[in-house]
Each structure stands twice: as structure tokens, then as C-alpha cells.
Amino acid sequence: MQGIKEYLFGVIAAAILCAIVSQLVGKDGLLSAAVKLITGIFMLLTLVSPVLNLKISAPGEIFSDISLQADQITSSASDSTRETISGIIKEKTEAYILDKANLHGAALTVDVSLSESEIPEPVSVQISGNVSPYTRKILSETIEKDLGIATEAQIWN
């Protein structure tokens, strides 16, 4: 960028110099024609020489840095959303099981585990509390049927 500034100021300085020289020489005569030619060549060299030596490098770093930032922001946001949704699903699933247990007069504590997949589904459950074998059977069947948690994934304490 500093180079561009210097280039622009160089061109302006050259143009003003050429204009002053042309003004001093006047508009008519052989000298004026010669000065016009010389100032023209001088201006051309001033304009072209830095452009010929210009080295253009690909701005790869800025793109990769910003892409990396974008990836970090989006992945952290989607992780946070997934975490929140998982929390609500866990809470609602546990409430559902406790509700069914209450209907049968059982006082239980429930801890549901969710899958690590993109859509967090209930995969296993730990149930603690005193419950009769009959109620346990009915609850186990309800959990399998309504929540899709297989009996093998239900841990009764």
C-alpha cells in the first residue's frame, strides 16, 4: 500500500513538473515541440516503470484466516444450539417417564442419555427407586414403545 502511495505521488509530482516546464517554454516554436516530446516520454516512463516491476502475490492468508474464524463461529454456535436442544429433550423425556411412573404410583428418579448423532435421541435410561415387578414391566414396555429405548438399554436400580 505504501508503494501505491509513493507511485501516485510520483506521478502527480512528475505531471506538475512537466506542466511548469511547458508553461515556462511557451506554446509556440521548436523548443516547445521538443519539450512536449521530452515531457511526454518522462511522464510515460514515470507511469509505466513501477507497473512493470510490480509483483502480485495471491492474498491467500487473509482468506484462510477469515474462513477459519467463520468455521469457529458457526461450529461453536451450532454446538451451543445442539447442547441446548439436548438439554430440553433430556428434561422432557425424563418428565415423560416420571409422569408415566406417577400414574402407576411409583416414585422414581430417572437419568436419560442421548445419542451423539446430529439429532439427539434418547438411547438409554437409568431408573432408580422402589417399584413392583408388574409396574416395572409396564413402564419398561411403555418406554420402549413410546420413546424407542430398548429394554436392554434400560438400567433399573
Binding site: 500500500m1 501505491i4 506542466a19 467463520a70 463461529i73 451451543s80 446430529e118 439429532i119
Partner: protein, 346 residues
């Protein structure tokens, strides 16, 4: 009192977390904060409050600009009067007139260029704080590809344009003014041509940057938006194929979170839009009023037949036009980007 404390504690303990993360727009800078509405109503009314506040602060600027314009007309009248007198001093008088007018104009133009450059920096800095918030909110809403693409494109264009303005366009405005003064003083064609080139280059760079940005946003917006919409549809299909109770729980949970994030994104986005406009509008009006007054003064001075001074004033008004273009370009990039973020997925 004890009951109230217990109630608050219970509310905190049993509250269902709708969103784990808060998405709030960063506070507008101090100068812009004064223009922001104290209480939020509709976007239209809030925007009107910002515009009204900016117009209200314009009075001293207008008075200063009018003073300079009156002085310029007085200089032109004096030069016209003296150069019409017999003798060979007409050229010298015109040269003195051009230099006097230029020194008068350079004072206000210098401060306007600084104001323009500061506004560009402020807009860019505010964008750097606001864009990550909007990106995260849109990603949390399911627009992962769209938000990433919008963030990358806006940040890259903003960085390139801000760097370009401070390193190329602002020096180019100074060069344009120097060339204009020299061209009007000496009457050389080459200087006039270079002057036109500097103006054309500045305008072309700004226009091209905006065309590329809007084109890029348009194309990538459609492509990434479709990808996100398809992914969301696929998720909904998977949920609908699940056991009804589980599907219902999943659907309710995701719906609650998405609605919560959507509300936060909308609030942050509209605040961001207002803040960007509040940062931009006061300098825009300050420069804009000078641009219009200088155009008028150039037309009035043209009546007195002193072409050099009229051309000089016209060139300075063109420089103001370039400054308006620079500040507005960054503002437009941020406004387009924020609107895309607010539009969301699909």
C-alpha cells in the same frame, strides 16, 4: 420479601433454557449512540429518530459551509472586477484568485477528508464486532453454510475496501485536489486529464467493489441458502419418521430454541442496522451539505466569467462526492450483509 426471593430463586432454578448463548448486538460508538432511540419501537420510527437527530446537529456545519461559499463568491467577484480593469495583470489576478480560493477550500476539505476516513474506520470496526454475533445467531438457527459464506464475503470485502480507501482512495483524493489546483492555476491540459483520471479511477474502484460484492452475495446467497434449507428439510423429515412421542419432543425442543434464537437475531440485527446508519448519517450529511453548496457556488461563480475559480470549486465538490461514495460504500456493504443475515435461511 422472603417469599419474593424464594420465588426468584425457584424461577432461576426451574427455568427451561431456550438458548444457551445470548446474541446481542454490540453497543454503537459514542457519537452514534447519541442518535440512537432511547426506547425501541418500530424500525421505521427508530430510523426516523436517527435521521432527525442527525439533521438537528447539522446547523453549525451548515453555517460554516455557507460562510465559505459566500467568501468564495466574494473572491470571484473581486477577481472578476480587478481583471476587467485595463492592463496586463489579468492573469496574475486570476492566479492569485485561484490560490486564495484553493487555500480557503483546502481548510474545510481537509477536515471533511479526515471525517470521511474516520467514519470508514468506525463502520469497519463496528462491523467487525457485529458480524460474528449475526453469524453465530444465523448458524444457531440452522443457516451454517449461509452464515459462514456471508461472514467470509462481508469481512473480506470490508477489509479490502477499508484498506483500499485508506491506502489508495484517500491519497487519490488528495492527489485529485492537488492536480485540480495545479490545473486551474496553470491551465495545463495534461493536469486536467490526470485529474479526470484520478476521479474516474476512484469512482470505478468503488463501483466495481460494490458490483462484485452484491453479485457475489446474490449468487452465494442462493446456493448456500438452498443447501441450508435442504439440510433443515432433511432434519424435519427424519424427525417426522421417528416414534411420535420422541419426534414430538425433538420437534418441540428444536422449535423452542430456533424461535428464541430468531427473536435474538432479529433484535440484534435491527439494532445493528440502526447503529450502522447512525454512524454513517451524520458525516454523510456534513459532507453532503458541503457537496451541494459547492456545486451551487460553482454555478454562481460561473456567472462572473472566471472559469478557473469555478472549475476549482467544482473539483472540490467532486472530491466531496468521492468522500460521500467512500463512506456510503462501506455502509451499503454492511447494510446488505445485515439484511441477508436477517432474512435467514432459504
Amino acid at each position: 420479601m422472603r417469599k419474593l426471593i424464594v420465588l426468584i430463586l425457584l424461577a432461576v432454578i426451574f427455568a427451561v433454557p431456550v438458548s444457551a448463548q445470548e446474541y446481542t448486538a454490540p453497543e454503537a460508538p459514542d457519537e452514534a449512540l447519541g442518535l440512537m432511540p432511547v426506547e425501541r419501537t418500530t424500525f421505521g420510527q427508530d430510523l426516523w429518530t436517527v435521521v432527525k437527530g442527525a439533521v438537528g446537529k447539522l446547523q453549525p456545519e451548515l453555517a460554516a459551509a455557507v460562510k465559505i461559499c459566500v467568501a468564495l463568491v466574494a473572491i470571484t467577484m473581486a477577481v472578476s472586477l480587478v481583471s476587467s480593469m485595463p492592463g496586463k495583470s489579468a492573469k496574475v489576478v486570476e492566479l492569485v484568485g485561484v490560490i486564495t480560493a484553493a487555500s480557503l477550500l483546502l481548510q474545510q476539505t481537509g477536515s471533511m477528508i479526515r471525517t470521511g476516513a474516520e467514519t470508514v474506520t468506525q463502520l469497519s470496526e463496528y462491523g467487525k464486532l457485529l458480524l460474528p454475533v449475526m453469524t453465530a445467531a444465523l448458524a444457531a438457527q440452522g443457516g451454517i453454510t449461509t452464515s459462514g459464506t456471508l461472514y467470509v464475503s462481508t469481512t473480506v470485502f470490508d477489509a479490502l475496501l477499508t484498506a483500499g480507501i485508506s491506502a489508495i482512495l484517500i491519497p487519490l483524493v488528495y492527489c485529485f485536489l492537488a492536480l485540480s489546483v495545479a490545473s486551474c492555476a496553470t491551465g495545463q491540459d495534461i493536469l486536467k486529464k490526470l485529474c479526470d483520471f484520478a476521479k474516474w479511477l476512484s469512482t470505478w474502484l468503488l463501483k466495481t467493489a460494490l458490483y462484485i460484492f452484491t453479485g457475489f452475495i446474490g449468487v452465494t446467497g442462493v446456493v448456500s441458502g438452498t443447501a441450508d434449507a435442504t439440510a433443515l428439510k432433511a432434519t424435519k423429515l427424519t424427525m417426522s419418521g421417528m416414534i411420535p412421542v420422541v419426534g414430538g419432543i425433538l420437534s418441540e425442543a428444536s422449535e423452542a430454541v430456533l424461535v428464541g434464537v430468531g427473536v435474538m437475531k432479529s433484535t440484534a440485527g435491527t439494532y445493528g442496522l440502526l447503529a450502522v446508519i447512525a454512524i454513517w448519517i451524520a458525516p454523510f450529511l456534513q459532507i453532503g451539505i458541503r457537496y451541494l453548496l459547492l456545486k451551487l457556488t460553482a454555478a454562481v461563480c460561473g456567472v462572473f466569467g472566471i472559469k478557473q475559480i469555478s472549475a476549482l470549486i467544482s473539483a472540490f465538490s467532486d472530491a466531496m462526492g468521492l468522500l460521500l461514495g467512500m463512506t456510503s460504500a462501506i455502509c451499503i456493504i454492511l447494510l446488505i450483509s445485515l439484511t441477508c443475515f436477517l432474512k435467514g435461511v432459504g
